[in-house]
């Protein structure tokens, strides 16, 4: 195997989705991450009530991510064939779970605003 560069990776992603969609998705991911950091800093603490709902949404995110990938790629659970497949599947589920949790937490915080943060905080 020869070198694999970051630019090559970006090039492949751009081809996969089209340049426009890829950068829109990348931007969305970055914006959500920043919004999450923003509400954390604004509220100065994790609100455990919001975090609870976010946690409850994690299995939903995990399952949704796995189903999404399987539908997009004409595959199913029976196709899991070796350790790397299990690892990949778990990685997709974890990514879905974390992504969903961050999204749910951020959306709640943005909608409800920072005022209730004090009550929520333990």
């Amino acid at each position: 195997m020869e070198e694999l560069t970051f630019q090559t990776l970006i090039a492949v992603f751009e081809e996969m989705f089209g340049k426009g969609l890829f950068w829109v998705m990348a931007a969305a991911a970055i914006i959500i991450t920043f919004a999450y950091l923003y509400v954390l800093i604004r509220d100065r603490a994790v609100s455990w009530r919001k975090f609870l709902l976010a946690q409850l949404s994690m299995p939903v995110g995990a399952v949704a991510a796995v189903l999404f990938v399987q539908i997009m790629t004409d595959s199913a659970m029976r196709d899991i064939g070796g350790p790397i497949d299990v690892i990949l599947l778990l990685a997709i589920a974890v990514a879905g779970a974390v992504g969903m949790a961050v999204l749910v937490y951020t959306v709640q915080s943005l909608i409800r605003g920072g005022k209730t943060a004090v009550d929520d905080t333990l």
Binding site: Q7, E15, M72
Partner: protein
């Protein structure tokens, strides 16, 4: 959702990239070499376009001309997915114009003759193009006429498939396979005795037909036979053994030393040459793959091997540098190159940086360092959702990109994802000289 999707795809793409990641961006970052050389590339397929993209970035002032009559560009690895009913024809089709890099002249005509002594190419329309460096990237010709009784307008009828013939024929092949897996009967798969592009494709299609029937619950109504041209199911012995085991598990029968000579659609029989003479097999569904040869323009120009592949005419190049053995300013890359292995897009990905290196070295009076060792790869689909990621070289050694992670002889979902999701993106990035 965007996060999940991104994450998954980054994994998929990372693996595919590593599966076939040659010199990458390194070339692009090197300072451009100033030259006024006239470089002519025959063929705007996988190899011609990738090389044109890379050279146009590496060279300053070169006159690069690409010659190809075809308006459509075909992503050929997609044909298998089209013929399995997983993708529409458009999946494999784009326009040549879309990929021709800026600053490169495209002449939309076929090259009709090459005079390697006078260093001139003549097109079908009578244009004469002088060159300092010539790259043969014409791919290969499918010799349909070699199969008696066959004609392309039969495809899709009488149980005849021919997925190699192009995207529309791949769609017709799928229609025939779909019907066959409803009705049942005898499926016979085969390959030609010549060198061929993507030698795994005939095997993949046997697996895919078996899989379709199983999913429809009609497997008991069909028999599947794979008629090999010699004694091997795959040219690499260790892969042959794996395919043999999978075939027996899936109840796919095999025949050795069968080379298709004729088809009789009326009687639904295939006639093969075998060591014992002609042999007839009845069929209900088949995928015809004809002998493959270098295009006539190569064979008539005296650039072919004289003592090897006599009837096939591949360009006589050094297997490691892809430079012509008699004309130092001529190179061949892709399917037309007369090298022992590697008629795949994955090989193109590894060959192109080598040819680029040798051309740039020749133009800048430096020493070329890159070598091609026969790397080729084939995501061998074993059913929808699983594949073997087989990578090997001239010596039949397995050269896995992720040793210990993606096992080459294991049926894996991740290998399927590489074929279904990441391969086309990597191929497109390659055409742009970015992968």
């Amino acid at each position: 959702m965007s996060l999940d999707r991104r994450h998954f795809l980054s994994l998929a793409a990372a693996s595919s990239l590593m599966a076939a990641a040659p010199a990458g961006q390194a070339a692009a970052r090197q300072p451009a070499v100033a030259t006024s050389a006239r470089i002519v590339i025959l063929g705007a397929g996988a190899a011609g376009l990738s090389l044109a993209s890379r050279l146009s970035r590496r060279l300053e002032g070169a006159v690069i001309t690409i010659v190809d009559p075809r308006q459509n560009h075909y992503y050929q690895p997609g044909f298998t997915l089209v013929a399995a009913g997983l993708k529409p024809a458009e999946y494999a089709v784009s326009s040549t114009a879309h990929w021709v890099p800026r600053g490169v002249d495209w002449i939309a005509e076929a090259a009709a003759s090459i005079d390697p002594e006078a260093r001139v190419v003549e097109t079908a329309g009578g244009q004469r193009i002088d060159y300092d460096i010539l790259v043969l990237a014409t791919g290969l010709t499918l010799d349909w006429n070699a199969i008696e009784g066959f004609s392309l307008d039969l495809v899709g009828r009488e149980g005849i498939g021919a997925l190699y013939a192009g995207p529309d024929y791949a769609v017709k092949t799928w229609a025939a396979m779909d019907r066959f897996t409803e009705e049942g009967g005898e499926a016979v798969f085969l390959r030609p005795a010549t060198e061929m592009k993507c030698a795994g494709a005939p095997v993949k299609y046997a697996f895919l037909t078996d899989d379709r029937a199983r999913r429809k619950g009609t497997r008991a109504k069909i028999n599947v036979t794979y008629a090999a041209n010699n004694n091997a199911l795959f040219s690499v012995p260790i892969v042959h053994e794996k395919v043999r085991m999978l075939f027996s598990e899936r109840e796919i029968g095999t025949l050795n030393n069968h080379v298709l000579k004729a088809i009789d659609p009326g009687r639904r029989t295939l006639t093969f040459d075998t060591p014992e003479g002609r042999s007839e097999l009845p069929y209900s569904f088949t995928n015809v793959i004809p002998p493959m040869r270098a295009p006539g323009v190569i064979r008539q120009s005296g650039l072919s091997w004289a003592d090897r592949w006599i009837d096939e005419g591949w360009a006589e190049v050094d297997p490691h540098t892809l430079r012509h053995r008699r004309y130092a300013e001529v190179f061949a890359v892709g399917d037309v190159a007369g090298v022992p292995k590697g008629k795949t897009a994955a090989s193109v990905k590894w060959q192109v940086p080598v040819v680029e290196d040798h051309i740039v070295a020749a133009l800048s009076d430096t020493e070329a360092t890159k070598r091609y060792d026969g790397y080729t790869s084939c995501p061998l689909i074993t059913r929808v959702g699983r594949a073997l990621l087989v990578e090997f070289d001239y010596n039949d050694n397995l050269v896995p990109s992720f040793p210990g992670v993606v096992a080459p002889l294991e049926e894996l979902w991740v290998s399927w994802l590489i074929k279904e999701v990441a391969l086309k993106a990597t191929y497109n990035a390659m055409l742009r000289g970015r992968a």
